[in-house]
């Protein structure tokens, strides 16, 4: 039972991070109908932004303090939002009217570019760097349970961010515009929605979430390196498809499910080696029975 609860908490914390990344995938898919492969690299850039910003802020606000952590997270998110919007403007916008496959390949190209440029010694270098401790780490012991304070922070902040996303998308004017563009781009433009601005905003929002997720992920990982985004990015991508791509609650649900599955299987003796495969196996199984994902709606093609 203790083992179960322990894994549950670990899985939720991991799943929450996946959920944050998956939201970015799914939002971009919602407005542009393509999978933004470069999303996982924006996540890496977020972690690196935090890595470079932290030493600059620490002398002012003190090491391992809440204001420092907040400022680092906010600044990294802003930087990555700008990066995301730039990528959209330079690489994806000129292709808006082209086949989706073209955009997909471009996205793969952008992703490879960021990864390989990042590995170059004059940029980040390929070696693993140790991520600065943003918050003092405490172990909270409840009975036989060991809960890391970082996990709790991640869980709470993710909950807040998920709620904020829901609020932005469902309760604000710009969110309504996002939904309109996602529903029918042409009609939205006719109704006076500035489609380019909405798409740019969506990229910014998704990239900011990715940056925050990247920092959370780096806090749990041993170190950061230019390829650190690939694995969580792939998982989050699965999570987004699992929940039904283009569906926001679906992405959150998919992320949590994937995090739990991975932690439970990873913790079982004999199965841990297959952890990577199991995430995909579950995805395939679910897609076979629900081809549009857990919460997605199947669209019938009409002639």
């Amino acid at each position: 039972m203790d083992w179960f609860l322990q894994q549950l908490i670990n899985g939720l914390a991991l799943g929450a991070i996946y959920a944050l990344i998956a939201l970015g995938y799914t939002m971009v898919y919602g407005v542009l109908r393509f999978i933004n492969f470069a999303h996982s690299d924006v996540l890496m850039l977020g972690a690196f932004a935090a890595f470079y910003i932290t030493p600059k802020i620490t002398p002012v606000l003190g090491p391992q303090s809440v204001p420092t952590a907040m400022l680092v997270i906010v600044l990294s998110a802003v930087i990555c939002a700008a990066i995301g919007m730039t990528i959209e403007f330079l690489a994806y916008r000129p292709l808006r009217s082209r086949p989706r496959l073209t955009v997909l390949i471009t996205a793969i190209g952008v992703s490879l570019f960021i990864e390989f440029a990042g590995q170059h010694e004059k940029v980040f270098g390929a070696a693993t760097k140790s991520f600065p401790t943003l918050l003092p780490k405490r172990e909270i012991v409840v009975g036989a349970l060991h809960i890391s304070s970082n996990d709790l922070v991640v869980l709470v902040l993710t909950g807040v961010l998920l709620f904020a996303m829901w609020f932005i998308v469902q309760r604000t004017k710009i969110g309504m515009a996002m939904r309109a563009v996602s529903f029918n781009e042409g009609a939205a433009a006719l109704m006076g929605v500035n489609v380019n601005r909405i798409i740019s905003f969506t990229f910014g929002l998704g990239s900011a979430l990715a940056a925050i997720a990247g920092i959370f992920y780096a806090m749990r990982a041993p170190g950061i390196e230019p390829l650190m985004g690939v694995q969580p990015g792939l998982r989050a991508f699965i999570a987004a498809v699992l929940g039904g791509i283009g569906n926001l609650p679906g992405a959150a649900l998919g992320g949590i499910v994937l995090g739990l599955v991975e932690t439970f299987f990873g913790g079982m003796p004999g199965l841990s080696n297959y952890r990577d495969g199991i995430a995909f196996a579950i995805l395939i199984l679910i897609l076979l029975f629900r081809p549009a994902g857990l919460l997605g709606k199947l669209q019938t093609e009409k002639v």
Partner: protein, 308 residues
């Protein structure tokens, strides 16, 4: 038409074997690249049948390549010592065909469930199967786990690689240009219209998938006996993407363009060796620039409807 293609096949095989006989006069480095070119042509042309002609989007080609490579390598590793030298080429042929067949079976197993899905979902599921295949090889002691298979005998020569490349091009061209093969293109152009014409889209998609996987397996077998080492990392989804890029660069569904793209994309990284540290950066920028300027592929000029 058919006669011309047969002549092409025979001439190509004869040329490959002939060049192979004379291979000792060539620089070994160039010879190695030439074999790489042949293997990549097989991969790109076979993926073109799935992604180009049939219009599906598979991101798991490296997985089938791995299945073929590991199967063939295991066969020659186990029986290589007990077969007399004169029979070695036969053993190699058997290994190649077995590799292809097992990969085709894997293609069938993957294709039947996943080809009900479309577009992005199909892409992610094929990517998933590719990764699962890799994880299986990575954890299986029988296949050398993470260290992979080593000590494979050098058997792939220029002749083998190019002959099989020619066979692949021939078979794919014949299939697509046959009455039956028009079904693939019909599925690509409009699935609903195709099924209204009495074509079973799923059947055609699975067929394309199985044939594509078969040739990917053959390429894997040739690759194994060329590089002499098989590592599971070598078959991750970056490898699949490399093959996809060849197909897109060449123009989906254009066999000649895809062959040209496979040749260029194999040679290009070698040419960039002097600037090795910028090599992959240039490669990725090229992909982006290409998509921005010539999304229909580098070698498509007029003819045939534009890619959807």
């Amino acid at each position: 038409m058919r006669g011309k293609e047969k002549i092409f096949l025979l001439v190509a095989i004869a040329a490959a074997v002939g060049l192979s006989m004379a291979s000792s006069i060539f620089n070994r480095y160039y010879l190695g690249i030439a074999v790489d070119v042949g293997i990549n042509i097989i991969l790109a042309v076979s993926l073109n049948l799935i992604n180009g002609h049939t219009g599906q989007f598979s991101l798991g080609h490296a997985g089938f390549m791995a299945v073929g490579g590991y199967t063939a390598a295991k066969l020659t590793l186990v029986f290589g010592a007990s077969v007399p030298p004169a029979m070695q080429p036969l053993l190699f042929l058997a290994a190649i065909l077995l590799g292809g067949t097992v990969a085709a079976v894997a293609g069938l197993a993957v294709g039947i469930p996943s080809l009900r899905l479309r577009g992005d979902y199909l892409a992610i599921v094929t990517l998933g199967f590719g990764e699962i295949i890799r994880v299986i090889f990575q954890t299986s002691e029988f296949f050398g786990a993470a260290t992979g298979l080593t000590g494979i005998t050098k058997m792939t020569t220029l002749g083998w690689a190019w002959a099989f490349a020619a066979i692949t091009v021939y078979v794919v061209a014949c299939i697509v240009n046959s009455t039956y093969g028009r079904g693939f293109i019909a599925v690509h152009d409009d699935e609903i219209a195709a099924s209204a014409m009495g074509i079973n889209p799923t059947r055609y998609k699975v067929t394309a998938f199985v044939i594509g996987a078969f040739f990917a397996g053959i390429a894997g077998a040739l690759y194994a006996h060329h590089k002499l080492v098989l590592k599971p990392d070598g078959f991750d989804f970056v490898k699949s993407i490399e093959i996809v890029v060849m197909v897109i660069l060449g123009g989906m569904g254009r066999t000649a363009g895809v062959i040209l793209a496979a040749i260029i994309l194999t040679i290009l990284p070698e040419l960039l060796r002097p600037v090795a540290e910028y090599r992959m950066i240039i490669y990725s920028l090229l992909i982006i620039a290409l998509m921005l300027t010539r999304p229909q592929g580098l070698f498509t000029f007029g003819k045939k409807g534009a890619v959807k």
